[in-house]
Subunit: 242 residues, 2 copies
DNA sequence: ATAAAAATTTGACTCTCAGTCAAAAAATGC
DNA sequence: GCATTTTTTGACTGAGAGTCAAATTTTTAT
């Protein structure tokens, strides 16, 4: 039966989406330790056994939640890269997208990191890991396209490896988000400063690389203002303070 | 009894050190999920009940292990900050210390991050958290001293907030180490590049900040060579490839 | 429409493991 | 050497991940 099959597949997908959605809520509310499959089963109104029809393990469910966050991140990056402006402005937009994600889905980065802990990762299914990797590639596409444009337009300095710059930016962003959620830091002011000054540090780094136009001849705060109004209007409206 | 008491305290400390040491080994080998207290009890040749005389929970033991890593990090930072040279050279040494730690104790950063997951952190004892925070302060001291020197010597540019720079460096380093241990990244080359190019990215960032002497007038690869030979000789000897 | 067959769902059950605690053992004091 | 205090022990409890045979639902065949 063609029709029946199609409905079944759709229902299965819908239920899977429901499980992931409720898991995200439970994880957000109770953290990983407080998250258990008996509660989840009750919450989605299916038995525990049925959960195992969709996911191989508890960790697999957590990875599915993380994949949703990655998907959202890829969307925001895409939007940033479509901004009309110089390549460096668009890369600034990518950094801003990350900041926005950190505010809209605060548990996102820590959960992402957690699920990549070797002992957690190895309990996820190969299928889910595959999807996660594909989704991560999608995240990488916009920044890579921007880098290509930067090189093509001559804004990017000779002798600098584009991927190295991307690595630097991504590491800077990742480190910042994790520091801002950290329980202990090498210096008390650090936490407040880190998340607050990420845009500034982005500017420093790109100036150091020599990516034109440098911040002394271009007002990137103005760029960020435009990004805020023109690109991330909807997202920022959902954040109480920005 | 004075003498008896002193011996008892010492024995307790020694046993605690043994538990932490063996836990570190077990965690390194089997990861967090494969690490259980029955195995640990057998390994240290004490019963499970005795473990609970020293630590409030499994997570408390993990935090104790992380504290040892932090202690080692503080030592390396201290050594770096005592290098004879310009402030920026010494800060470069701090970055190098982090890279060395990442190679000598590869599971260190991921475990550090893991223990700070809210649901793990809240299961640790207040006492252990206190020690962790004190140790973290020790980590922060050398970089802060270097920053003070940089400002005093005039190497540090006006109008830049010193702590913001420290935040940037720490975030860059943290992000890099976590990326290098990550299971999924936005782009395949990233992982190799990230850890390999951290010194380079450090230079870019500090150039962007405008911290004198800039890398175009000073050879920081030479600085790193000197650090390697003069400061981190012993540590680097323990690493197979650097 | 009905029965047989196939697919899906269920929750009681197993097993592992963190954490407890009463009893045993060891250390201390007199 | 005996009584008291301190320390150690490991059997036990409870929580929760993962399983699987039985129950239920859906599909197919007649």
């Amino acid at each position: 039966m063609r029709v029946t099959m199609a409905r079944k597949v759709r229902e299965k997908q819908e239920r899977e989406a429901l499980i992931v959605e409720k898991s995200d809520e439970l994880l957000k509310e109770h953290g990983y330790h407080g998250f258990n499959l008996d509660d989840l089963a009750e919450c989605v109104e299916y038995s525990k056994g049925t959960l195992y029809q969709h996911f191989e393990s508890k960790e697999d469910i957590v990875l599915a939640v993380v994949i949703e966050h990655i998907k959202y991140r890829a969307e925001l990056f895409k939007k940033a890269s479509e901004f009309q402006g110089r390549a460096r402005e668009r890369m600034t937009g990518v950094g801003m997208a990350d900041s926005i994600l950190g505010k809209l889905v605060p548990h996102s980065f820590a959960l992402n990191q957690f699920v990549q802990t070797p002992s957690v990762w190895e309990r996820t299914s190969a299928k889910m890991r595959e999807i996660a990797k594909e989704m991560m590639d999608k995240v990488g596409e916009p920044p890579q396209a921007i880098l290509r444009d930067a090189v093509a337009s001559g804004d990017f300095p000779d002798g600098v490896v584009p991927h190295s710059v991307m690595a630097g930016l991504i590491c800077l962003a990742k480190g910042t988000h994790l520091i801002s959620q950290a329980q202990m830091v090498p210096c008390d002011e650090l936490q407040r400063i880190a998340s607050q000054d990420l845009p500034q540090n982005y500017d420093y780094f790109l100036d150091g690389v020599g990516w034109e136009p440098l911040s002394k001849v271009w007002d990137y705060n103005e760029t960020r203002r435009r990004l805020r109004d023109e690109v991330f209007h909807t997202e920022i409206a959902q954040i109480t303070e920005f």
